[in-house]
Symmetry: C2
Subunit: 287 residues, 2 copies
Amino acid sequence: MLSQNQIKQITALKVKKYREEFSQFIAEGHKLVMDMIGSSYKIAGIYASADWIVANIILIREKNIPVFETLPREMERLTALSTPSPVLAVVNIPKKKLTVSTLFDHISTLSHQHTSTLSHQHTSTLVLALDDIRDPGNFGTIIRIADWFGINMVLCSESCVDIYNPKVVQATMGSIARVNVITGDLAQTLTTLSGSTTLSGSSGRFPVYGACLDGDSIFSQTLTGHGIILIGNESRGISADLAPLITKKISIPSYGNSFSGKAESLNASIATAIICAEFRRKQIITN
Amino acid sequence: MLSQNQIKQITALKVKKYREEFSQFIAEGHKLVMDMIGSSYKIAGIYASADWIVANIILIREKNIPVFETLPREMERLTALSTPSPVLAVVNIPKKKLTVSTLFDHISTLSHQHTSTLSHQHTSTLVLALDDIRDPGNFGTIIRIADWFGINMVLCSESCVDIYNPKVVQATMGSIARVNVITGDLAQTLTTLSGSTTLSGSSGRFPVYGACLDGDSIFSQTLTGHGIILIGNESRGISADLAPLITKKISIPSYGNSFSGKAESLNASIATAIICAEFRRKQIITN
């Protein structure tokens, strides 16, 4: 049984202000908790049913994670889900600040790993940059897409929904454990990255591909395996201060016919998925 | 001002049972209502603020649609949205029953239209079939994707969430006005369609492409411009009774690297988007 204080503190993590104050967030559900345990995140505590604890005690002891038996009625108070799961983890928020040098380091490491062990698969450094993505479902889904397509660095503007929002964490379906998400000043970072010749090697600058309704078709473009894919806000697109940093505007062609009009746009996560898929498809062909 | 009876009847349309009883559903928001007015759907009534009515009175009179001035506090009772919009339409549900002959007619019409006027763009008859899609957001988003990619026939199993559910209608972002969605016995329909040589012309049978995690990569497949793209349930995939009807299993390759594991799957609407995009891309190249 948990103390009132424990319940109060965990429940508070549903609110951004308290997540920032305590530097913690919650991850719920067996798969997500397992993904978090297997990641570099530090788990502050696991709150679970007796059955769950029994079934997973070896792993928990091995990882030295504090575990607290939680009754169903307590879990109902803790959960941010409509149907509580048997397990919830309180996870420490890592201190990652978006600095250009962190990014350079990360990208160089990636390039090195790819070159040494994965060159037959893909030598690529794709980074996803999200400008003002507000919907938790979209944001989480985009992290899951990045994970699927092997993009493990996602940059976000300060105006994006909080990555540690329980709805975002849930929508990533565990991919938050594998994808590095860094929030910061996008304009400044893109300026530095896109100007770098170190990152892109012989191919010149590190390009910024901006998803825009008036861009050129991704299908007819040369898309390099190095670069930043920039996705804008759900209704307003890429913001005015980032637009000048775009090296190449790209778009997804539509096929609506004139008999019936057509959809005006695609959802931000849908557009991200199609674009990432096309980048990866072109890479298989090139390599 | 509306009568209590009007409010009661419109509010009831949030529930499937009453949508079926009254054969009506609600569409909210300016864009969606405009899309519905411009479609073949019959609008039973429009409920709107005085301002909205003044701004749109010419169109409403021209179309001969009954219109009712609705106060903000009344709209708050009618709406299924978290933030009510200034306009809501009550729309009649068309009597479309999925029969094989309806489908043949529709597909033949489509082929004819494409051949006579759009052959330079795409001569294609793609049909989307949804097996047990339960999430309203996913379902609506898939209709929007179909619209974007010029697929205007979507078949659904009886177990899919109701297309006239307010959350589904909203998630289509107006595409419900342009895409034909027919609910019925998928197994029976797919059996008849895939056996037809009439539909596919010289290319033989009308193929069923089933999205499966163990399918062949869509990028390395020949994908015809004619056929059915079958998408399964969010967690269980394509059901056992439909699996034998698949002509070709297709999948989206992932690029997660061995250092960090990878996402186990993609969301159903994300997978649909990537698959539809690849079908269309291959068509541009072929034509």
